[in-house]
Symmetry: C2
Subunit: 391 residues, 2 copies
Amino acid sequence: MKIESVELFYLAMPEITEEVDGSQDALLVRVSAGGLVGWGECEAAPLPSIAAFVCPPSHGVCRPVGASVLGARLDSVADIARISAEVRYNSMDLLQSAHTLSGIEMALWDLLGRKHDAPVWSLLGFPASLAKTPYASLLFGETPEITRGRAEQARGEGFHAAKFGWGPIGRHGVAADAAQFEAARQGLGADAHLMVDAGQIFGTDVGAAADRLEALDAADVLWLEEPFDAGAFEAYAALAEHRSRVRLAGGEAAHNVHMAQHLLDYGRIGFVQVDCGRIGGIGPARQVAEMAAARKVTYVNHTFTSHLALSASLQPFAGMDCSRICEYPASPKPLAAAIAAVPIGLDADGCVRAPEAPGLGIDINVEAIRPYLVDTEIRVSGEVIYRTPDL
Amino acid sequence: MKIESVELFYLAMPEITEEVDGSQDALLVRVSAGGLVGWGECEAAPLPSIAAFVCPPSHGVCRPVGASVLGARLDSVADIARISAEVRYNSMDLLQSAHTLSGIEMALWDLLGRKHDAPVWSLLGFPASLAKTPYASLLFGETPEITRGRAEQARGEGFHAAKFGWGPIGRHGVAADAAQFEAARQGLGADAHLMVDAGQIFGTDVGAAADRLEALDAADVLWLEEPFDAGAFEAYAALAEHRSRVRLAGGEAAHNVHMAQHLLDYGRIGFVQVDCGRIGGIGPARQVAEMAAARKVTYVNHTFTSHLALSASLQPFAGMDCSRICEYPASPKPLAAAIAAVPIGLDADGCVRAPEAPGLGIDINVEAIRPYLVDTEIRVSGEVIYRTPDL
């Protein structure tokens, strides 16, 4: 097959708030080849990511992503790796290209799986898609009471694990944060996993993060996620030295395999969280999952958007027995909820699995998402180089 | 002062070739505040970088760069650091934002220097701008003869150092590369510095790079630049173990201080090359220069575009006696050559210095660059969110 077209669809809620809720907009990718289509999703700012696909070239290794993808051969898994390597090299100086590539790469896997009538996890070599314990991914409320309510609701929906993040954490002192952690634990109950996402609030301040460890231990928190800048490996390693049961987690910002590997090797994290919509897609995420297993670190997906992104993010560790917990977008905005025609639901045991259907196993509800389409047009030197395609 | 406007100008040569020549287009930034203007330049794909400034927000930490800059207070050096930190945090998930910020940050230094009637290096605390030995930054020719000719020309123009890069290196075997290194040395003469830039051609293949060390030593090459992927620290460190006089260089891709620091600490490079147009501007570059000095590593600028970018890139180490070599764009395209009204020339000793004039000390030749302006327009939901401003 030859890649005939790559269409990018910018979707957004009518109003975007300043909440750190990544489900407020989306960049969907539809790839066509050999009479088939595949879908993917970039976890990225839509407009700059579109620009990275269509922009005029700047020089030999600052070319638009489209130049390395359109017209390329796609017959095997090796072709996906080859196309990705060409994008990496030819768009070396175009920073946003990794985010753009991510959604395209997912769509290539989806398309290839549909062609071979096989789920992506099977193309990756896994004999089965194992059950994972989903954790509800939630934001801290402005008060402990709101947080407790959200935890109770997640428990009521069947979740045995939940992660709270962002909001007031790190902004109002140690005691205020301790009250938040305690409220989340109370709402969730003693027998569920509780995780905390600090959203990089401590920058490189190891002491400020260390001051929270006692309260995190008291609430029996499994991991503390992104206490620091994504690249501050030394701060991660220094915090890991402190006496605490809490392990560190990070990796969502990795836009290549090296960055995730370095968090493992230099940052001494205990959980590595990869977003397939940023790292370059499913292939690089699979590489990180293998690296993590070799280092006895638990691989976890990072997913805060749609169930298309959730399916893609489950594939790289679908068959890995050593990684049995997964992030699950528990309260996405209506736009993100509308993308998958049938969501990946919780089974009777409260578990989820990567779908058995071919490709990513997710059909896109085109009619449901149409109202969210953001009409976009880019003109350069009088020529339209991008206009929102027909859905 | 309050930042009143940030204007982005996309300039390009009429034809863009596949040469790895970053001077074929440019993204200039003009910032206005308190009746003054400052100029900067992003070393980046123009269209995605513009999009990163004007795009609608995606969520709380995926906001456009403009949201953190427009209207901000600018009275002191500390304000530049504060504005940059806000961009880093508020645009954490917008990958391209570091490249967009870089040109803006430069313009803020330029503006502040003009306000205080002081060169930027003086605002950075240096008592003087020291002479640097510029190296001509050139591309390998397709044949050794072409390379030799370029080396002879550089010598004839007064350069005592030259770096050759990209082109055929790594593509036609060890003997072909050896002939190129030898030709460069012959053209340059025995008493000049010669450096080689491999342009990441060896990916993570340490053996392939090591196979070239003997020929590099034979040509008395001072450094081998970017033999590997920018993030492949392990490969850099492994090559540094080999017996050779050649030291490794890298860092141009760093889009934050952490990345440059990690090349120093984990990649064991001997020269760290920072592009102010990518790392976030002059402030972060200054931090890396200090880190390098503390580790006895030589700081070098990475500059392949205009003399505005050259001035910006000289500032972070203008007064450092331990870093006396600098990259100098020796044969930029007419567009890049047109940007500075008066270029930074070589003195009688063949040396260059960061200008003594206020700010970056470069006046922009608006009339000369006007013909290169690329008319650009971005519409979202029927509204024009970017249109090329009047020069």
